[in-house]
């Protein structure tokens, strides 16, 4: 029951609601949304579509997702039909999620009108995937129909990108992509782009370099060079991971969905025996030079030696099976590499490096420590190799003779004895 106000109605009890005292909401347009979402008509796939999502976002028969910047007020254009019999100005109230409130006095005139509503308080400063449900009510005994309107709303750091620039269009915004990016970014519990990238990378404990039988061939795992969403289908096959370049494309794509700043690049890092005795990290942007890496050979007498970065301890003069051969004791043999591929992410004057499965690094020099050392090897006919010279060691650790059960028992008792001291 509302207070009487404005021009007193003629005749009858104005405090009682009447059927004709209904404010019927016909449509809602979110004026403060970014307007950059595309592909609302193709909700099921990861492919980008350049069809702009339709407006208005809410009608009695449709709900179209929007994206909105966090920490900003929500501005709606509401079109309604007040009928012919409302007596005078009515205050329209809207209660949205998380304390969002709208209040606006309606200058009632018969028929259809449009008003702009601005929320009294801003959206929370957090990434979110909201159902923007607003419960509507009105003063002066008027009814609002429907009483609740719902619009899917992605709360992001800035506008998602409407025009993709990436070759596989991973950075173009679609509702499904924004929803997934928000879902993943929320796990960071932070708005710091570095923290968000780190949380993305935590999902990929290693970079895959060979195709997985678990991923449909149309996605071209682990490269994800395809026209059905590029690197995006990787989010459905996280356990199979992907190449470093594919993960970088996905990270870039996700950052573009949530409007986060920062620049991600694919770096390959290696060392050369002839440059600073292998101590100096050599770096290339993989997208500019996809062939980059260590490719050095020398002829010494009748031997052709190749330089390689070895990922486990080796001994000069010893012979090893081909890289990463599974040994009878279940371990794998030291592997030879041309480079380490890393994601470089820069924002706010800080650069960090994410190399497959080795944690977060803060300098390029640290990346070389992924390897045990730089060596000259002679390849053998069975694809094994003999280490001719260790040029540089990047971390400690000697090649150990194989550990026996006796060694393990002795080690256990040594550690036990130390604890008792």
């Amino acid at each position: 029951m509302g207070e009487p106000s404005g021009v007193p109605p003629r005749g009858g009890d104005t405090s009682a609601p009447r059927p004709e005292g209904t404010i019927r909401i016909e449509s809602i347009r979110v004026d403060s949304d970014h307007g950059t979402l595309r592909g609302c008509d193709e909700p099921s796939g990861w492919r980008f579509s350049d069809h702009a999502c339709p407006e208005p976002e809410w009608t009695p028969t449709s709900r179209v997702p929007v994206s909105h910047t966090l920490g900003e007020k929500v501005r709606l254009e509401l079109t309604f039909d007040a009928g012919a019999a409302l007596p005078g100005p009515v205050t329209l109230n809207g209660e949205g999620p998380e304390g969002i409130q709208f209040r606006q006095t309606l200058p009632i005139s018969p028929g259809t009108s449009s008003i702009t509503l601005v929320s009294e308080n801003p959206l929370a400063r957090k990434l979110d995937d909201l159902s923007f449900d607003v419960r509507w009510s009105a003063s002066e005994a008027a009814l609002v129909a429907p009483a609740v309107t719902s619009i899917p709303m992605f709360v992001t750091m800035g506008p998602p990108r409407s025009t993709p620039t990436a070759p596989y269009e991973e950075d173009g915004a679609t509702p499904r992509r924004v929803a997934k990016a928000v879902e993943w970014a929320k796990q960071a519990n932070s708005l710091d782009p570095h923290a968000i990238v780190e949380s993305f990378l935590r999902r990929f404990p290693y970079y895959a370099l060979l195709p997985s039988p678990d991923v449909p061939a149309e996605y071209d795992h682990p490269r994800y060079f395809n026209d059905v969403g590029g690197a995006w289908p990787m989010v459905d096959y996280v356990a199979a991971s992907g190449e470093c370049q594919a993960i970088v494309r996905l990270v870039r794509g996700m950052l573009a969905q949530i409007g986060a700043p920062g620049e991600a690049r694919i770096l390959v890092v290696w060392a050369d025996p002839d440059q600073g005795n292998g101590e100096k990290p050599l770096v290339a942007d993989w997208e500019e030079d996809p062939r980059a890496g260590l490719s050095k050979t020398i002829q010494v007498g009748d031997k052709r030696l190749s330089a390689a970065l070895v990922d486990g301890p080796v001994v000069e003069g010893n012979t090893y099976p081909p890289s990463h051969t599974r040994l009878p004791d279940g371990k794998v043999s030291p592997g030879l590499n041309r480079y380490e591929a890393c994601l470089e992410f820069s924002y706010g004057g800080i650069t960090r490096y994410y190399c497959g499965g080795v944690g977060v690094l803060s300098s390029r020099h640290d990346i070389l420590k992924v390897f045990w050392g730089l060596v000259w090897v002679e390849f053998l006919e069975d694809e094994g190799y003999r280490v001719e010279k260790i040029v540089q060691r990047y971390r400690s650790g000697e090649a150990q003779p194989r550990e026996t059960v006796g060694d393990r028992i002795r080690s256990f008792f040594r550690r036990f004895a130390r604890r008792l001291q």
Binding site: Y206, Y207, A208, L209, L210, P211, S212, P213, D214, A217, D220, H221, P290, R291, A292, G293, L294, S295, K296, T297, R304, S306, A307, A308, L309, D311, P321, P322, S323, H324, T325, R326, V332, G335, L336, N337, R338, Y339, E340, A341, G356, G357, V358, G359, V360, L361, D366, K369, V370, W372, V377, F379, E381, D382, E383, Y385, R395, R419
Partner: protein, 216 residues
Amino acid sequence: MKWFDDIKTAESEGFDELDGHADVPGQALAESRHWARTLFAQGKGPYDAARPVRRKVHRATKAAPDLLRHEYDVDDLHLSIVEGRSFALVIVSRDSLDVLALPEDERAAAITRVAATLFHPVCVSGGVCFRFPERIDEGTFFSTNPDLEPRLLGAWQDRLDAGIRGGELVFLAYKRLPWMAGFANPFAWLREGERIDQKPRFRFPFRRSGAKRKRR
């Protein structure tokens, strides 16, 4: 060339017919399909549907490594592709193309034409990639880039080899993993659960994911 010797040994030991894919570990099959897409032009690879392909397998013995063999027809060519873990040898049947029966000055062009038909047109486009010798005869081998060490290639396109062996035209493509120096173990390709990319990694000690354990 050792791989030719390996194939010869495997042939003497015998290949088993492969009725379906079930007899090949999923990982190896995924790799084989991946390389078929990577190396061969659209519609020319051994996994393109609607083409009957006869497949055989040789499982590693002490003498010869794991090998897959695909036999099928493309256009007018009858192909046998012998695939190891690190290479794909394409043999063009002499019945379908006898290079040595062509006049000498037409052989190079014929080889270039076949290469351009079969492989992705990265290196072989334009027909100027192979560095042909003066004469192409039995036992002649040539390459698009003979100076590059196959074990250190940045990509398979950097070097494609070809030659005449037993009167047949052969192409040798290297299934290069660009991050790796050398090749993976050719005897451990068709072993169940075999992977070389999920390698154990050194983790830097300055970041701990879990809470510190309380010392007693």
